[in-house]
Structures are given as structure tokens and as C-alpha cells.
């Protein structure tokens, strides 16, 4: 599936290219982000999707796996998104599915974040052989086709969200690692580092304190975009029939809707809209964050 690298790489390149001007390191404040139309729409969508996931047990009381009504009933007041071929309530499925989908995306993002920051820090801080080795590893992992790997892992070992998280999380960190490494290299040469050292402060602590705020904005953008990509990959996995049917997710629902495209439109429309809304939301938000921090 296409959207594996795209926004991810572009996000890397956009701030990095503006770097010489040094304006982009201005911290993104929430108020500034939301003041942009993209930021406002994005934040609304993201908050809405998050609310869906968090409030699922309250809003959708029907058991998403149990019979709710006649099979393939169109949307009605009792079942606002209709029912599927088995007779299960789709509204409940989409809301509970939000939890799985967002959980998977968050886990991947977190894993990629840990790996990326870890490798970047090590490489930038120690330099030398460590730097060389981690650069090699970064290049290797950038070469790995991620969608291919996820599909292979799921087809070989059977469906399961743990596999999705591991394969995507462990292969999505290189860009972040490079950003962190670059930032460490810049920071350690800065005047205040020299001053801090002279004043006897711990070099490591100073580095950490100055690094974090500087890396945070671009990392937020990168990880936000990754979040959206994971949702799309999850949808494609569902389409290929490799989703885990025991854990409802948007991808699994969209996959199950395949046979009903022209018979029961609601089955594909609602999960599809949920995916699109979430992906659009994080992308708009990431856009707004990156514009704010680049001072435009």
C-alpha cells in the first residue's frame, strides 16, 4: 500500500531544510496551532475520534460481537450505522473498533519513538563507531519495505495486532533517529553547552534539557504522520483479509464490508469515514504544528 513513507519523509525534509534559518525551532504553542484553520479542523477531528474511543462503552452499549437485529438492516434510530451480515450492530463495532485502531497506531508510534530517540541519542552523543554503526542500521531499516513486511508477518504467523505493532514499530524509526542525531550534534557544539560545562553542570543533563524542546516539534510531526499511516496500513491489512477477527478494528470492519459494497453501503461507508477522519485529523494537525514551528 502506498502511504507508508510519504508524509513521513516529507515531514523530515521540510523542517530540516528550513533549519539553517533556525526559526523553526520556535516552540509550537497549542494556541498558535489551533488558530490555523488546518489546526482547528485537525484538532476537532482528532478530539472527536479520541472521544469515540474513550466513550465507546458508554455510547455503544450493544455487544459488538452479539446479535443485535436482522442481518443487513440499513441505518435506523436503534442502529444508527445499520447491522452487518451476521446481524451485529455496526455503530458498536465502529466505536469499539476505534479503541483497537487507535491503540495499534499509538503503540506503533510509541515503539518507533523509543527506538528513534534511543538510536539518535546514542549516535549523536557517542559518535565514532557507535555513530557509524547506527547510521548503517538506519540505512538498512530505511530500505526495508514496511508494508511488505507486515503482510509477510501476518500471512506467515497468522493475524494478530501484536505482529502489526512489532513490525511497523521496529521499522519506522530511522527518520526520527536521524532528526534526533542531527539535533544532538548541533546542540553539543552550542555556546551554552560549553558554558554549562565550564560551570560544572552535568553535560548529559544539560544536553537532555536543551535537546528535548528542540526535538519535540519535529518529532511530534513525524510521529503524528506515522500515526495516520498505521491506520491506513491497518485498513489495507483488513482488505487483504489478514485482520484479526477477534479484535474489532476499523480495518477489520472495512475488510468485512468488501463483499457488500453494493448491497449494504453502510458497511463500508462508516468504517471508511472513521479511518479517513482520523487520518485527515492527524495530518492536518501535523501540518499545523509544522507550520507553527517553522514560524510561518
Amino acid at each position: 500500500m502506498p502511504p507508508l513513507i510519504p508524509a513521513f519523509d516529507s515531514a523530515e525534509l521540510a523542517p530540516a531544510r528550513a533549519a539553517p534559518d533556525a526559526v523553526w525551532r520556535r516552540r509550537a504553542s497549542w494556541r498558535a496551532v489551533v488558530a490555523l484553520p488546518a489546526g482547528a479542523i485537525g484538532a476537532t477531528l482528532v478530539v472527536g475520534v479520541l472521544a469515540m474511543a474513550l466513550l465507546a462503552p458508554l455510547l455503544a452499549t450493544a455487544d459488538p460481537f452479539a446479535f443485535a437485529a436482522a442481518p443487513l438492516s440499513p441505518p435506523s434510530f436503534a442502529h444508527p450505522m445499520g447491522t452487518d451480515a451476521i446481524g451485529r450492530d455496526l455503530f458498536s463495532g465502529v466505536l469499539h473498533g476505534a479503541r483497537t485502531s487507535l491503540l495499534v497506531a499509538s503503540a506503533v508510534t510509541l515503539l518507533a519513538c523509543l527506538c528513534g530517540v534511543g538510536v539518535g541519542l546514542l549516535a549523536g552523543y557517542y559518535g565514532g563507531i557507535v555513530d557509524d554503526a547506527s547510521l548503517r542500521a538506519t540505512e538498512l531499516f530505511q530500505v526495508l519495505p514496511r508494508f511488505f513486511l507486515v503482510v509477510v508477518a501476518l500471512a506467515l504467523f497468522g493475524p494478530g495486532i501484536d505482529r502489526v505493532v512489532l513490525t511497523l514499530g521496529l521499522t519506522s524509526w530511522p527518520v526520527l533517529a536521524r532528526v534526533v542525531r542531527g539535533e544532538v550534534l548541533v546542540t553539543r557544539e552550542l555556546d551554552f553547552m560549553v558554558a554549562a560545562q565550564a560551570s560544572g553542570a552535568s553535560r548529559r543533563r544539560v544536553l537532555w534539557r536543551h535537546l528535548l524542546p528542540n526535538v519535540f516539534p519535529s518529532a511530534a510531526v513525524l510521529l503524528g504522520l506515522l500515526f495516520g499511516q498505521v491506520l491506513l496500513v491497518e485498513a489495507s491489512i483488513g482488505f487483504l483479509g489478514l485482520g484479526d477477527p477477534n479484535v474489532l478494528s476499523w480495518g477489520v470492519l472495512a475488510g468485512q464490508a468488501q463483499g457488500f459494497l453494493r448491497v449494504a453501503w453502510w458497511l463500508s461507508v462508516f468504517p471508511g469515514l472513521a479511518i479517513a477522519a482520523a487520518v485527515l485529523g492527524v495530518n492536518l494537525l501535523a501540518d499545523a504544528v509544522s507550520s507553527t514551528m517553522s514560524g510561518r
Binding site: M1, P3, V143, P145, A254, G272, I275, R296
Partner: protein, 321 residues
């Protein structure tokens, strides 16, 4: 210097590819599932499956299988497909042209559309046009690709009959030469546009931010101050350098699309490598799967190399390390 750089990069390809092959060999063989059980069909007796395993050398211990395989690969032999009984390399290579055509066209279309759109958006950030362009590109990007593909088939192909529904060439049609090219083009249009719609967002985003950056730079200001027309400023001074990141990403995308177009290939029945990968996974056709791994990693590495060279050619500031 450039030749040395190329040679060095090519040498780096060997361990990378060897590593990927080793990892994939272990991965594929460590996974549960027995190719013979999928291959032979049902209802045999136990001795039958044992015989078949021996037939394919699957009864050997894994390290020996690996040694045998590595030896063969070193001699350029990727083994026989379990399913098709012919060379795995041939099985994979006959699917490459279709995928190359599809992804190449999609990338080309995406870039041809994205560069003007991105420029348009970048000239006046957050203006109405910028918002419109971003909404279009992001909207296409955010919807699952199979959704867009199926909608395109239902509306454009079935409802309006503007394009064929599936395949790469008319079924059973005997066409050659120019007519054949036209026929393929007609089948190519819809899947290529759908795939391009997914790539559009990336390139628009890159072009846009590149243009924004370049327009604030000194050399552009200088050109403006000298009274160079706005069009010339944009096209001659800002755009070329704004497009550098676009070039980089083309490389990354092209390599990954060898397997990544699988969903579009399935929706449109396009006979490419992505579908071969899924088939090979289903039947556990290990030699074909490994050959695909090899192809994908080679494609990514080589395209990246080509990108680096192109980058250097466009931007003399980039030194080839």
C-alpha cells in the same frame, strides 16, 4: 570521485542484500506452515506428504537447506518454484514489467500534478488556493486506497464506461504494435490514477514547503530586487531548488511500490509483483518469496543510489561522500 562513489555504494549493496536474504530465509522457514500441505491438495496419506517433502528437499535440516540455498544463490540460481516447477527468478521477472509500468506511470502522474499544485499552494500559504489544494491532496490520501479504487471502478468504469474494469489488456484480444500499446494504456489509466491519488499528497506537501522556503531566500529576493518578473522568479529561481526533496522521495517511493501496489493490483486485477507476493505467501512458495525479497531490496537500494546521483547532478552543493 563520482565513479568511486558509485562503486563504493554498489559494493555496499552486496552485504545489505545478503543480510536481507538471510533474515528472510530464516523468517520464512521459521514460520509455521508447510508448503507441501498447501501444494499437494487434500486427502493424501502421510507417506505421500513425506515423499513430497523429500522431493523438494524440505526434509533436510534447516542449516543444510540454508547452505544449499546460499550456494545456489551465489551462482545466480534462485531455485525452482514449488508451485510452478520452473525457475523462481523467471516467475518473478515476468511480473516486473507490469508493476514497473503501473508504479512508474502513477509516480509520473502524481509528480506532474503535484508540482504545479504544490507551487500554486506554496506561493500564498494559507490562501484559498493553498487550502483547496491541501484539502484535495489530503482527502485523497486519507481514504483507504481500496475504497477509492472500488469507487473509481463503479463510477468511472461501470457507470460511465470510460475505462475497462480490470486487467492489463483486453481479454482474449489479439492486438499487436500500436493498437496493443493503446489498449494497455486504456487499462492502465484507472489503476494508475488511483495509485497516483495516493502519492499526490506527499509530492504536493514537498513542493509546497520547498517553494515557501525558496521564496524567502536571499537569491530570490535579489532576483526580485533586480526586477526579474514574478513568473521567472518562481520558475527559474525558486522551483528548481524547491524540487530537490521531491527527487529524494521519488526514489524511496519507487522502490517501495514494487510490493506496495499490491492492494491496487488486486482491486484492478493488475498482473504485478504485489499480487505474486500474496500468492506466494498463500502457497508458501518459498523460492518465489525469497526471490521477491531479493527483488524488492535490490530495487530499493538501486533506486536510492540513482536518486543520490540525480540529486548530486541537480544540486552541485551536495558532495558525494
Amino acid at each position: 570521485m563520482s565513479t568511486r562513489f558509485v562503486l563504493r555504494r554498489l559494493l555496499q549493496v552486496v552485504p545489505t542484500v545478503a543480510g536481507i536474504l538471510l533474515v528472510s530465509f530464516v523468517l520464512v522457514h521459521a514460520a509455521p506452515g508447510d508448503p507441501v500441505l498447501a501444494l499437494a491438495g487434500e486427502h493424501g496419506d502421510a507417506r505421500y506428504y513425506a515423499d513430497m517433502r523429500r522431493h523438494f528437499g524440505l526434509d533436510q535440516p534447516l542449516p543444510r537447506q540454508l547452505v544449499t540455498y546460499a550456494g545456489r544463490v551465489a551462482h545466480g540460481d534462485l531455485g525452482f518454484s514449488y508451485v510452478q516447477g520452473r525457475s523462481a527468478a523467471a516467475v518473478v521477472m515476468e511480473r516486473v514489467p507490469a508493476t514497473t509500468l503501473l508504479t512508474g506511470t502513477a509516480l509520473l502522474v502524481a509528480i506532474m500534478a503535484a508540482v504545479p499544485l504544490g507551487t500554486l499552494a506554496g506561493r500564498r500559504p494559507f490562501g484559498a488556493r493553498d487550502v483547496g489544494v491541501s484539502a484535495l491532496a489530503l482527502g485523497l490520501y486519507s481514504a483507504p486506497v481500496f475504497w477509492i479504487g472500488q469507487l473509481a471502478i463503479l463510477v468511472i468504469a461501470l457507470r460511465f464506461g470510460l475505462a475497462p474494469v480490470q486487467g492489463m489488456i483486453t481479454a482474449g484480444g489479439d492486438v499487436t504494435g500500436l493498437a496493443r500499446a493503446a489498449n494497455v494504456l486504456r487499462h492502465l489509466a484507472l489503476p494508475a490514477l488511483v495509485l497516483a491519488s495516493q502519492e499526490l499528497a506527499v509530492f504536493v506537501r514537498l513542493t509546497r514547503s520547498g517553494v515557501i522556503d525558496e521564496l524567502t531566500r536571499d537569491h530570490v529576493r535579489t532576483a526580485r530586487a533586480k526586477g526579474v518578473g514574478e513568473r521567472a522568479v518562481l520558475l527559474r529561481h525558486a522551483l528548481p531548488r524547491a524540487l530537490l526533496p521531491v527527487v529524494t522521495v521519488i526514489g524511496a517511493r519507487a522502490g517501495h511500490l514494487v510490493a506496495g501496489a499490491a492492494v491496487v493490483e488486486i482491486v484492478f486485477g493488475w498482473p504485478g509483483t504485489g499480487r505474486l507476493m500474496l500468492d506466494a505467501l498463500q502457497t508458501r512458495d518459498t523460492p518465489v518469496l525469497l526471490a521477491l525479497f531479493l527483488l524488492v531490496s535490490l530495487a530499493v537500494v538501486l533506486v536510492n543510489l540513482a536518486t543520490d546521483l540525480a540529486y548530486a547532478a541537480i544540486d552541485p552543493r551536495v558532495r558525494l561522500r
